[in-house]
Point group: C2
Chain length 338, copies 2
Amino acid sequence: MATAVMPQQPTPERFFNAMNAHQQTEALKTAVDMEVFTAIAEGNTTAATIAKRCEGAERGVRTLCDFLTIHGFLTKDGTQYGLAPDTAVFLNQRSPAYIGGAMEFMLSPRSREAFFKLTEVVRHGGTVMGEGSTVAENPEWVTFARAMMPVMRMPSQMMAAELRKGGEAHKVLDIAAGHGMYGISVAKENPSAQVYAADWKNVLEVAKANAQAMGVGDRHHLIPGSAFETDFGSDYDLVLIPNFLHHFDVPTCTSFLKKVRAALKPGGRAAILEFMPNDDRVSPPAAAAFSMIMLVNTPSGDAYTFAEIESMAKNAGFARTELSPQEMGFSRLAIAYV
Amino acid sequence: MATAVMPQQPTPERFFNAMNAHQQTEALKTAVDMEVFTAIAEGNTTAATIAKRCEGAERGVRTLCDFLTIHGFLTKDGTQYGLAPDTAVFLNQRSPAYIGGAMEFMLSPRSREAFFKLTEVVRHGGTVMGEGSTVAENPEWVTFARAMMPVMRMPSQMMAAELRKGGEAHKVLDIAAGHGMYGISVAKENPSAQVYAADWKNVLEVAKANAQAMGVGDRHHLIPGSAFETDFGSDYDLVLIPNFLHHFDVPTCTSFLKKVRAALKPGGRAAILEFMPNDDRVSPPAAAAFSMIMLVNTPSGDAYTFAEIESMAKNAGFARTELSPQEMGFSRLAIAYV
């Protein structure tokens, strides 16, 4: 084994890193929960002063901050901690781009429990938590709507700007609206647009409040209930389907897209925003890895490639589907034309 | 927010990666538990054939293998999966260097639970699981001894070779012997050495079996009980203290080193193998991050720097302490001279 010190030799480093990776999740969660990043932004830069501000023990805070430094969230100079640039923007509560709240949804106890059962999930081929996240009136979607709004602001604005290039929209349907940001962003880009937001009743309260706060409340209407069962109405020139299809299998998506197509008027468009891996299913990393989240949390959802989405849309009767060249966050936009 | 697409703009990627990092831990554990790597080594290279061999669902196995490819454990060519070089060496059960069993110790339910309580731990400044891993006759150390032996083989041989340069050892004490590999490696490097292995009685059974299997059983003796309370005897020319001090605070380590020094004969050496971060406490990453594991699992342990170990040894009466230049796995060797 003396050869194990040769630089070309395989090392178990990747194994140890992945085995210990859960520690990063816990450390980040603790730092957000204890407001460590905000404390540092406020000028508490030593373990002792951060500990005081965050009600932690100095030993605990020092070890946590060292760990966060090792993983790039903090800087360290002598005994002084600072925020890395990304951390200052996204994890300081005083920053307008703060997204730390997303952890409440993404690391919900249900989701953590679901991942704990991964072996069972892989044997079963889907979630082992009943209907998983797709259950009716799931209160987790209210958490989602509240927690993920700041994360979705940027991609929703990028999507709205991209769609505006294809013409003004007047009647818009926002499927699984959640926080409502996609419909709201489209409303802001299209001053005459009336937006109909469809989602569970409990979730739509969050969308409505956001629409009002963002000055488009009078053009923002609600269609509560299951997207598969509600009557959407008709004559839409734009239907938004953001981060929705990935929860379901191909036949379900195809039949849903038929319903969407029927609600569109001639010349109308369906805007499908999705984590969209390349055909190899292993790149780009964030979009491809999303498949794992769907395996664990849904009975038969997936991260679909553009080719798969194009095929579903074709089978649903759409004339053609185009992939927008720009990445929007970790997502891509496919536009299906009636 | 349109500026968010500029390449120089901060991105939330690090945040999402760390938030989702726990998924890597679960995926690796599932792959090891289901023998996915071994299955691929045996020639099962598609999701369908791996699923059959591992008793998984094809959808589950495909998503798992894609995820493992994204994280570098597998390769993918079309629909064919292969083992990355490190994976072939360390995670195929047929490989002599297989270390997948280490997960049983490192991801024990107790340790996972301890990490789940990290916020509480940081507030408290140490483990919130009672005495943590340092409790007497903890059966987890038997798991440790069995699971970690393959991981420790290489560093134990490196340590034994390094120590041999300083002269032959005749009477050797192996503190917290565990799997016994450190004492066994020294016994093999020093054909006349009698090795006394100290650890809990239940753990020593593993060390004894390993010593017998490796042909040094007749020179391998047992000292069962607490390292702090047992009589070690005297006239040792070498005392091994591998991965032991990090469980305890500085006063406890110092007083323990006094006991060690008293057991050494004039000219004797104590070999202290430790995860040893640099003085900045944030490099090198693996050694520095070990501090977090000690925070969570012990009342007051830590990853000590060489300067701290040197100071403890000095206060315990050692004449001088030297740092061996070579890294041994993720550890470093400090040699304290009587």
